[in-house]
């Protein structure tokens, strides 16, 4: 019998336990003597704490602050830099910054006590917007200029190109905050365990949590055992943010010596958790007399909020994707991440790329409209091809299958007929976007920083156990890894086990981020499985391990950001068709079609689900997920009544296809995909709406009320 292709769908390993309600998430866990916690947070955006007034605390209740950090411990969460405090001490930088943790046995008593705690402040003038941050409103609070980072990359001589241009087309594109809305809110639980501590966390990166919080107690990493609990969605929101829960809990558990659980309610999660970076991207694009693009001078600013967290890395990815899927002859991209008195911005599916990809796609549509040509005709002239130079003066190594993907989308959507039929301003429009996503860590980060390992255990009972730190958060990784290992070993999938990781007994395969897990860790697991296969008939149980090997021929300079920023990309094309009501400006989406190159799918059904979900999340980002900010009070839309995410009625079913383009260094030819599928639909949607109403749109989201204002 011929071996079936690896992509043939299998029932997800976690499907039945989840669908039957048997799966346990963090809030479903209970330990004897377990206490609960509520956070006490800053109520102002900027100022100095002058007094904290507590009600009398009943027996068994404690208020934990930075003063409870033991001698030798540091009041910091070690994310990337050591700039993120665990507890505010005197000054506060944003509404929602952690001041203390209230701990006790009864949740309703905690709520009552919380209302009686009052914090007094000496308030200062906050800087909230990108412009206010750059202007250092109220005085700089990070360095001398409020910039966490500021760097520029060059390709060719953009000044000369601008000087000689026939026309310079200027543009400014704005994107807003976006909330992850993982259906399971943030949650963690810490319990003392002998001399050590066990941290249960709904988290993407158990080893990140350990690294971040061990220093609070001045402990070696091994003393903090992190066990990932089944994670009800993450999307980047549980990359670094679990540290913000686990840190105070660890300090509290060290004092109180009991298990303590902290589960955010939805309003807390909305008001006081990290968000996607708002952005402002400015273009000066040089055109010749025929309307050819000669170069782009791009200025990108991301609103990073009160602490840096991973903003520098997010910004790098934004800058490296700023010219999209196009070979622009000359470019200069400056990136800045500005500190403001808002909740820190952090990782969110796409990790900085969606903002700049939306910007460049939308900007090209504006140029096309000004030149009176179809955006597709303009964009098609500049598609990157194999061997072309990238924005960082590296090269595209893979065959770029945009033409094949485009053919599929054109055919499925009827794009050309519809463009001919729907005149600009007719109320009907179809838009199209192109996008990519560099797989895994930037440059040589996998080799120099992550150094991932993967371990397999062949057990005496005949089962094979996957022992890696990579996490299932809904994206289907348990199923993908199970298939890769089973396929390599030539055994049934039900002989492979992949429990949620525990840092005490798995190999550190790196964080579950950057669309790296299938592509990078999957390949390492394949290596470990090959080693196991050679020893398969040994009677004793045994372990095999493998580590990351960097493909040769990819120079990268992490100081100058020159060379191959990514060794492989996923690619996508998306078309969206809309109808706009001429009176209410409500937008009805009539069709969504996409094609993607993700190498080879490890499971076609899992991939299908990722495409569907990523595209709808991206459409929500553009169409409806409005998140306003009150300068004194913080986010305005903090519950699901106010912060509107797509329902089953908001978008029609999708047409989705793949172009197989095997990646030689991925398992069975697979590349990353989780973020790629978010990166483009928002631009296609806005292109469609712009055509339908014959108006350039420069900012998202654009719910009907905003579109109405724009059309007034």
């Amino acid at each position: 019998m011929a071996k079936k292709p690896i992509g043939t769908p299998m029932r997800r390993t976690d499907a039945l336990t989840k669908a039957s309600g048997a799966e346990k998430y963090l809030s479903d866990m209970h330990f004897d003597g377990m206490l609960y916690a509520r956070m006490v947070r800053s109520g102002i955006p900027r100022g100095t704490i002058t007094d904290i007034s507590l009600p009398p605390l009943p027996d068994g209740y404690r208020f934990i602050t930075y003063k409870d950090i033991p001698a030798g411990g540091n009041n910091e969460l070690v994310m990337i830099k050591k700039d993120y405090r665990c507890f505010a001490e005197k000054d506060v930088r944003y509404v929602g910054e952690t001041i203390g943790l209230l701990v006790g046995p009864d949740r309703s008593v905690l709520v009552d006590l919380l209302e009686q705690i009052s914090v007094s402040y000496e308030e200062q003038v906050p800087a909230v917007t990108i412009d206010e941050g750059l202007a250092c409103k109220g005085g700089a609070f990070v360095g001398e200029n409020n910039l966490f980072c500021d760097f520029t990359i060059h390709k060719g001589d953009i000044d000369a190109v601008l000087a000689d241009a026939h026309r310079i087309f200027e543009d400014e594109i704005i994107t807003g905050w976006q909330e992850h809305v993982h259906l399971e809110t943030n949650a963690a639980l810490v319990m003392p365990d002998g001399d050590k501590f066990v941290v249960y966390a709904s988290a993407q990166c158990p080893f990140y949590v350990r690294k971040s919080i061990a220093g609070l107690l001045n402990r070696p990493y091994e003393d903090i055992v992190v066990r990932q609990t089944t994670t009800g969605g993450a999307f980047g929101g549980k990359e670094h943010f679990p540290d913000v829960l686990a840190g105070p809990l660890l300090v509290a558990a060290n004092v109180i010596k009991k298990p303590i659980q902290l589960v955010f309610d939805r309003h807390e999660d909305g008001a006081y958790s990290v968000k996607r970076h708002p952005s402002r991207t400015r273009f000066k694009t040089a055109l010749d007399e025929q309307g050819n693009i000669l170069g782009m001078d791009i200025d990108v600013v991301y609103n990073a909020g009160g602490y840096e967290s991973c903003s520098y890395v997010v910004l790098q990815r934004g800058v490296f994707h700023a010219t999209g899927v196009y070979n622009i002859p000359a470019s200069r991209v400056r990136g800045r991440a500005v500190a403001t008195n808002t909740f820190p911005s952090d990782a969110f599916r796409g990790f900085g790329a969606p903002q700049t990809l939306f910007a460049v796609e939308t900007h090209l549509c504006h140029i096309a409209a000004a030149l009176g040509v179809d955006p597709l005709a303009l964009k098609s002239k500049y598609f990157l091809r194999q061997g072309d130079p990238t924005v960082t003066n590296g090269h595209v190594f893979e065959k770029v299958v945009i033409p094949e993907m485009l053919d599929q989308v054109l055919q499925a959507s009827g794009y050309k007929q519809k463009v001919a039929e729907y005149k600009r301003g007719s109320g009907k429009g179809i838009g199209i976007s192109f996008y990519n996503h560099g797989g895994a860590f930037t440059g040589n980060g996998e080799q120099m920083i992550i150094k991932a390992k993967a371990r397999l255990h062949k057990r005496a009972d005949g089962f094979v156990e996957i022992l890696v730190g990579s996490t299932e958060m809904g994206q289907g990784l348990q199923t993908a890894f199970t298939k890769i290992v089973a396929d390599t070993l030539g055994i049934d999938e039900d002989k492979v086990l992949y429990p949620n990781p525990d840092t005490a007994n798995v190999a550190d395969s790196g964080p579950t981020v950057a669309s790296r897990s299938t592509m990078i860790v999957g390949k390492i697991l394949e290596g470990a499985a090959l080693k196991m296969k050679e020893r398969w008939n040994e009677s004793e149980d045994f372990f095999t391990e493998d580590e990351y090997k960097h493909p040769e021929g990819h120079p990268w300079d992490q100081v100058t950001f020159q060379g191959d920023a990514y060794i492989a990309y996923g690619w996508g094309v998306c078309a969206v068709e809309v109808e706009v009501d001429p009176l209410t400006f409500e937008v009805v989406t009539k069709g969504i079609w996409s094609s993607h190159d993700i190498g080879v799918p490890i499971d076609e059904l899992v991939v299908h689900g990722q495409i569907n979900g990523g595209i709808i999340q991206s459409l929500g980002y553009a169409a409806m997920e409005k998140l306003d900010f009150h300068p004194k009070k913080g986010f305005k839309q903090v519950g699901l009544s106010d912060y509107i995410i797509p329902t089953s009625m908001d978008f029609p079913s999708q047409g989705a296809s793949l172009v197989h383009n095997p990646y030689p260094y991925g398992p069975s030819g697979a590349k990353g995909m989780g973020e790629l599928v978010f990166n483009g639909a928002s631009a296609a949607f806005i292109d469609a709406v712009s055509r339908a109403v014959d108006k350039d749109i420069r900012a998202i989201p654009i719910p009907p009320e905003t579109l109405t204002e724009l059309m007034a």
Binding site: R11, A15, L16, K18, E23, L183, D265, R266, L640
Partner: protein, 158 residues
């Protein structure tokens, strides 16, 4: 103030003495240990805490115990033991409806509620039927397909 409240929970007579304003959600989870009913929004928007009350779908975060007196409540733990529940759950697993899983028990309840009143739903019927249940992972397409699959497989169950 507490009150004695009797109701039928997954086919069994039960009683509890509690504040009549206590949420049914908290009673199910904390007092009966039925953790398949999830809390995700706390304001009746997302449907993760859905159960059947006298065969009608409700969000338990919005239902005070006082209104449960004498009612029949079926949670995912009860539904999964029935032929209909098994059919929906199997279809969800085969159809790729499940990703992070947090919304899924509520979705299964919504599917049962829909199919009970409309055994052969169109795509539009299904989308309307689950429109009170939010999912952030799937974009809904495969949930819709899975409910269609359950309807097809369940020939005669509803």
């Amino acid at each position: 103030m507490t009150r004695d409240i009797q109701f039928v929970l997954n086919g069994k007579d039960v009683a509890i003495t509690c504040d009549p304003l206590k949420r049914l959600l908290d009673v199910l989870r904390d007092d009966f240990g039925l953790f398949g009913t999830k809390e995700a929004c706390g304001e009746g928007e997302c449907g993760a805490c859905s159960v059947l009350k006298d065969s009608k779908i409700i969000t338990t975060c919005m239902v005070p115990m006082g209104s449960v007196q004498g009612c029949e409540i079926m949670t995912i733990e009860g539904l999964r033991e029935t032929a209909r529940g098994k059919c929906i759950i199997e279809a969800f697993a085969d159809g790729g409806a499940v990703q992070c899983g947090f919304c899924i028990p509520g979705m299964v309840i919504a599917a049962e509620s829909l199919l009970a009143s409309n055994p052969e739903p169109s795509e539009e019927d299904i989308r309307l039927g689950i429109s009170g249940n939010l999912c952030r992972c799937t974009g809904y397409d495969l949930i819709v397909e899975s409910i269609r699959l359950a309807a097809k497989r369940g020939n005669g169950l509803w």
